[in-house]
C-alpha cells in the first residue's frame, strides 16, 4: 500500500536519508530499525508530510486500488488519505484533556457518529484513557502518554498507522504492553509502519524489517529472519 523508491531527505542541511526504498503491503507490520540518528525519523516524517525537502517517489495505494503520489502533499492530505502518525516523544498536548487530544486526532472527520465510534474503539484498546478522559494530557504518566499518542493517531481512522519510537523512555513491562496493543491493532486490519531503536521488540512483531545505517538501508528481510542474523544480533541486540 506504500511504496517508497529512492527516497533522499535533507534535514537541517544534512543528507539524512540516502536512496531509501521500501515497500509496505496491506495488513503488514513493517519496521525500520537503526541507531539514533540513522535517519529513521526523517524518513517517516517525509511520508507524514512534515518534511518537505525530499526527493524520490512515495506512492500510496488507496483501498480502491488507485495510487497517489505523495510528493509535495501537506500533512492534512496524508491524514485524509488514511495515513496517521504518532510522533517521536509522544507530543501530547499537555494543556488539553485526554478527550480533547483525541478529538484533535479526529480533526479531519466531520461525522459525529464516526468520531464517537473511534473514541469508543480507542477507549476499548486503552481502558486507562477512559478513566482519565477529563484529565489534562500533561498529568499522565509516560506510558499513558504513549498510549494516548497511539490512540490519537487512530482517531482519524487511518489505513496506515505510523509509529515513531513508541518504546522511547518506557519501562520494559510497558514496552511489552504497548507492543502487544500494536499487534492487536494490526490484527484488526490496520497496516503498521514502526520506526524503532528497540530492535528486539520491533523485530519480534514485524513481518518485514529494514535496517537503516547512516541514512541508507544495509539489511532487510523478514522480522524473524533478522532476529537471527549475526550482524543484527551484534549491532542491535547485544550479541
Amino acid at each position: 500500500m506504500l511504496e517508497i523508491k529512492g527516497l533522499n531527505v535533507w534535514y537541517g542541511g544534512i543528507h539524512a536519508v540516502r536512496d531509501l526504498s521500501m515497500s509496505i503491503g496491506r495488513g503488514e507490520i513493517v519496521t525500520l530499525i537503526g541507531a539514533n540518528g540513522a535517519g529513521k525519523s526523517s524518513a517517516i516524517r517525509a511520508v507524514a508530510g512534515l518534511v518537505r525537502d525530499w526527493k524520490g517517489e512515495i506512492t500510496f495505494t488507496k483501498p480502491d486500488g488507485n495510487s497517489v503520489s505523495l510528493a509535495g502533499c501537506p500533512p492534512e492530505t496524508m491524514v485524509k488519505l488514511g495515513i496517521a502518525m504518532s510522533p517521536e516523544g509522544r507530543r501530547i498536548l499537555p494543556h488539553l484533556t485526554v478527550e480533547e487530544n483525541l478529538t484533535l486526532g479526529a480533526f479531519t472527520r466531520s461525522s459525529k457518529d464516526e468520531i464517537e465510534e473511534s473514541m469508543e474503539y480507542a477507549y476499548g484498546l486503552f481502558p486507562k484513557l477512559r478513566e482519565r478522559r477529563s484529565q489534562k494530557g500533561g498529568t499522565l504518566s509516560g506510558g499513558e502518554q504513549q498510549m494516548l499518542a497511539v490512540a490519537r493517531a487512530l482517531m482519524s481512522g487511518p489505513e496506515l498507522l505510523m509509529l515513531d519510537e513508541p518504546s522511547l523512555g518506557l519501562a520494559p513491562i510497558l514496552v511489552a504492553e504497548v507492543f502487544g496493543i500494536i499487534r492487536e491493532i494490526n490484527r484488526q486490519g490496520r497496516t503498521i509502519l514502526l520506526v524503532e531503536q528497540n530492535a528486539y521488540a520491533a523485530l519480534k512483531i514485524a513481518n518485514k524489517a529494514y535496517v537503516l545505517e547512516s541514512g541508507a538501508v544495509t539489511l532487510s528481510g523478514a522480522g524473524a529472519e533478522l532476529l537471527e542474523n549475526p550482524r543484527v544480533r551484534e549491532a542491535y541486540l547485544g550479541g
Binding site: V79, P87, R91, P94, L96, E100, L104, F107, T108
Partner: protein
C-alpha cells in the same frame, strides 16, 4: 488634591471605567490571541481598530447606510483588512526568524496609518452619534446615556461568544493546540494557515467593533486614533497575562479602572492620564512578568 467624591459621582466614574476598560479589553484580545499562536506582536492591530471606525464613518455619514448595516459593513471590511495583513505581511515570514515578522508588523502599521492619511486625509472628522444612543436618563442620582450601557454589554457578549468558540468548537481546539505545538497540530490534519487566518479574522472583527464604539464615545475619527488605544490595549494584554483571553479582558478593565479613577480622585493629574498605563506595565513586569492570568512562557520577544 481634594478627595471628596459622592457615591453618585463614584458610580458615574465606575460606569465610565467599565466602558473604557471593556474597549481596551476587546482590542487586547486580538493582541493576545495572535501572540498566543504566533508569538508575534501584531502592531497593525491598533490600525485595524482605526479602520473599523473609519469604515463605519464612511458607511453611515458619507453613504447614509442605516446604522446596523453600516456597522456590519465596517466590521466585515476591517476583518478583510486584518486577513490581508496576515496574508501579505506575516504569512511569507512564517518560517523566518521572529524578529523579521516583528519588523514587518511595525512596517505594515506605519503603512496603514500613512495610507489612511493619503486616502482619508489627516483631518479629524466628526462622527454623528445616533440620537437614540445619547438620550440621557437617570438611575438614582446617576445620569447615563444608553451608549454607556451598550458598550460594555456588547463587549461582554462578544467575549462570551469568543470563549465559546475557543473552548467548545473544533477550530477553537485547533487554536489552543497550535499555541502549544504547531507541528503536532499539523500532524493531526489541521490546516494551520487557515486556523491562523481565523484567529486574525476574529481579532480584527473585535477590534473593529471596539473602534466603532470608540468613535461613538469620542465622536471623531482620524488616521492615528489607533496608536494610543493600541498601545494601551497591548499593555492590558500583558497585564492580564498575554495568551489568555479572560486575562486580556481583565487587563483591559483594570486599565480602564486605573485611568478613570486616578483622574477622578486626583483631577490635577489628568495631564498624566496616558502615563498610568505605562506605570501599570512597569509594575506588572517587575512583580509578575507573566501577568495576572498568564502561563509561563519560555521565551518572549
Amino acid at each position: 488634591m481634594g478627595i471628596n467624591l459622592s457615591f453618585d459621582m463614584f458610580m458615574q466614574h465606575l460606569i465610565n471605567a467599565v466602558g473604557l476598560g471593556s474597549l481596551y479589553g476587546l482590542i487586547a484580545i486580538g493582541y493576545t490571541m495572535v501572540y498566543g499562536i504566533l508569538r508575534l506582536i501584531n502592531f497593525a492591530h491598533g490600525d485595524i481598530f482605526m479602520l473599523g471606525a473609519y469604515f463605519v464613518f464612511f458607511a453611515t455619514v458619507r453613504y447614509k447606510l442605516p446604522w446596523v448595516l453600516g456597522v456590519l459593513t465596517a466590521v466585515a471590511g476591517a476583518t478583510v483588512c486584518g486577513l490581508l495583513v496576515d496574508r501579505i505581511a506575516y504569512r511569507p515570514l512564517r518560517n523566518a526568524p521572529r524578529i523579521s515578522a516583528l519588523i514587518s508588523a511595525i512596517g505594515v502599521s506605519f503603512f496603514i496609518e500613512n495610507l489612511s492619511v493619503v486616502v482619508f486625509s489627516g483631518m479629524p472628522r466628526p462622527v454623528v452619534q445616533p440620537p437614540l444612543l445619547m438620550k440621557a436618563f437617570s438611575i438614582g442620582g446617576v445620569r447615563l446615556v444608553p451608549l454607556a450601557i451598550l458598550v460594555p454589554a456588547i463587549s461582554f457578549a462578544m467575549v462570551a461568544g469568543l470563549l465559546w468558540l475557543v473552548y467548545r468548537t473544533k477550530p477553537g481546539l485547533a487554536m489552543r493546540s497550535i499555541s502549544h505545538d504547531i507541528e503536532t497540530t499539523r500532524l493531526m490534519g489541521v490546516s494551520v494557515d487557515r486556523i491562523i487566518a481565523l484567529t486574525f479574522a476574529l481579532g480584527s472583527a473585535l477590534a473593529a467593533v471596539a473602534g466603532i464604539m470608540w468613535a461613538l464615545r469620542y465622536p471623531r475619527v482620524e488616521p492615528f486614533m489607533g496608536i494610543v488605544p493600541g498601545f494601551k490595549a497591548f499593555i492590558a494584554a500583558v497585564f492580564g497575562g498575554i495568551g489568555s483571553i479572560p486575562g486580556a479582558m481583565l487587563g483591559g478593565l483594570s486599565l480602564g479602572f486605573v485611568e478613570i479613577m486616578s483622574i477622578a480622585f486626583f483631577p490635577r493629574l489628568s495631564g498624566y492620564r496616558d502615563a498610568f498605563a505605562f506605570i501599570l506595565l512597569i509594575l506588572i513586569l517587575l512583580v509578575k512578568p507573566t501577568g495576572l492570568m498568564g502561563e509561563k512562557l519560555e521565551d518572549k520577544i
